[in-house]
Amino acid sequence: MTPPSLRVDGLAFAYPDGHQALFGVDLRIERGERVALLGPNGAGKTTLVLHLNGVHRAGAGRVEVGGLEVTRENVQEIRRRVGIVFQDPDDQLFMPTVADDVTFGPANFGVTEPELSLRVKEALDAVGVADLADRSPMHLSGGQRRRAALATVLACDPEILVLDEPSTHLDPVARRELAEVLLGLDRTMLMVTHDLPYALQLCPRSVVIDGGVVVADAPTREILADADFLAAHRLELPFGFALG
């Protein structure tokens, strides 16, 4: 039996200033699932994400990625297994060219030539930016940048892909193109988002966090159809949307 891609048990965390962000989060994501992580600002979504790759260490509880517990000793392997695509591609694309950037991750994780070039090429192809490999990220459009940022993580061959607000600052076409790329990837995904229609389009299952605990874990359509529940947790469908 393969272990789940992600398993979070009773995770609690307080920042050094005493602010408690998570009060016992439980979450299990099976291999191949696409799950949306929803919740109002300040609910603890980002804090949870930073636990998944060992940037924050659990105050209580534990996190396992593909059966491997997040510990100080495992942190490098954990970071390879958890591919985080950050909200602002300009934070993620820090090398002079797109190809350099996509090379950065796998090279750090010990992949060497000729495997390295192959990985880079596959990752660039998977997101459809192979022709931009030698360009500076500065000269790419928002959508191209977002997909390049995705490629930098795909090249590390992660067990689970974590996307932080993937649709922000994208025009409708780029937003749809990104969705098509993501749907075509066939990978385990955890998508943090405020964009509820995007969650519905991409993720059959949603987990809602509020006040540092999981308040709902159900099919996305069910959650989004419950207007009272959404209102209670400062979530809202855009104007004109209604789900039966």
């Binding site: 930073l50 790759n53 940037v55 490098q76 970071r79 390879r80 958890v82 591919g83 985080i84 950050f86 602002d88 300009d90 934070d91 993620q92 694309l93 820090f94 090398m95 002079p96 060219t97 350099d100 090379t103 950065f104 991750g105 090279a107 750090n108 994780f109 030539e113 500076s136 990220p137 500065m138 000269h139 459009s141 928002g142 930098t152 993580v153 590390c156």
Partner: protein, 256 residues
């Protein structure tokens, strides 16, 4: 809307000449030696500087860089030229009369020294920059065993200078859109404050970038850049101009 899509590297002139194709680390060494040769040439050996210049012209022909292109990019030297021109007027020592002006001999020589060595140095650097993309310069430096932290900083600087410049442009537009018109000294305050907030924003970005780097396995050194190594033949051919330059410098001591 993207305000200010960023500029291309103004000093680089893409091409496919012999000079362009040389590995970056070889060119860095050659350029360094040539600058060294120019600086070591005694200032009284006037003719030798002409030969240094001819040597450079030879490289430009090989690299197919037009002189006008180089001249425009050498203007960076202008502030130093001003200093060089002022020296003959203000330096002490024996003086000569020239068109009714009293000029210091020492000052003339010192000014000439700055002017000719500065100009040649700038031209050599511009030639290096013209024939080598910036990222190759950094990988060349790392190949020459410059400490990896310096290379990491240089790499990140290449990328984020553009990002920060774009951010600064957006902030300026936002100020102008709210009626800011910094023509008067008392309006400078807003500009100064926005420099402060630009610093804070850049600092916060730095932390986010670091997080993104850690998440992809960064442990303190950049993964080795793939750069072409240079054969013995390449080295000996490329070092030829540097050798000629050094020979010129040495012969300068006989001429002077």
């Amino acid at each position: 809307m993207t305000v200010g899509a960023g500029h291309t590297h103004a000093l680089h002139r893409p091409g496919d000449s012999v000079v362009h194709r040389l590995p970056a680390h070889v060119k860095i060494v050659v350029a360094f030696l040539m600058v060294l040769a120019v600086v070591a040439t005694p200032r009284e050996a006037f003719a030798i500087f002409g030969l240094h210049f001819l040597l450079l012209v030879g490289i430009w022909v090989a690299a197919r860089i037009p002189p006008g292109w180089l001249a425009a990019r050498s203007l960076i030297e202008a502030p130093f030229v001003v200093l060089a021109v002022l020296l003959p007027f203000f330096a002490a020592g024996p003086r000569v009369e020239w068109w009714g002006m009293s000029l210091s001999l020492d000052g003339l020589l010192a000014g000439w020294n700055i002017l000719v060595k500065g100009t040649l140095g700038v031209l050599i650097s511009v030639t290096l920059a013209a024939t080598t993309p910036l990222r190759d310069l950094v990988s060349g430096l790392s190949r020459l065993r410059v400490p990896s932290m310096v290379c990491v900083i240089a790499t990140l600087m290449l990328r984020y200078l553009e990002v920060i410049a774009a951010e600064a442009r957006r902030m300026r537009l936002a100020r102008l859109s709210r009626g800011h018109d910094p023509r008067f000294v008392w309006q400078l305050g807003a500009t100064v404050r926005s420099v402060g907030s630009l610093f804070l924003r850049s600092y916060e970005r730095g932390e986010r970038v670091h997080l993104a780097m850690l998440s992809r396995g960064f442990t303190g050194s950049m993964p080795a850049f793939t750069t072409a190594s240079a054969s013995r033949v390449t080295w000996s051919v490329a070092l030829l101009p540097a050798a000629v330059g050094l020979a010129l410098a040495i012969s300068g001591y006989w001429v002077a």
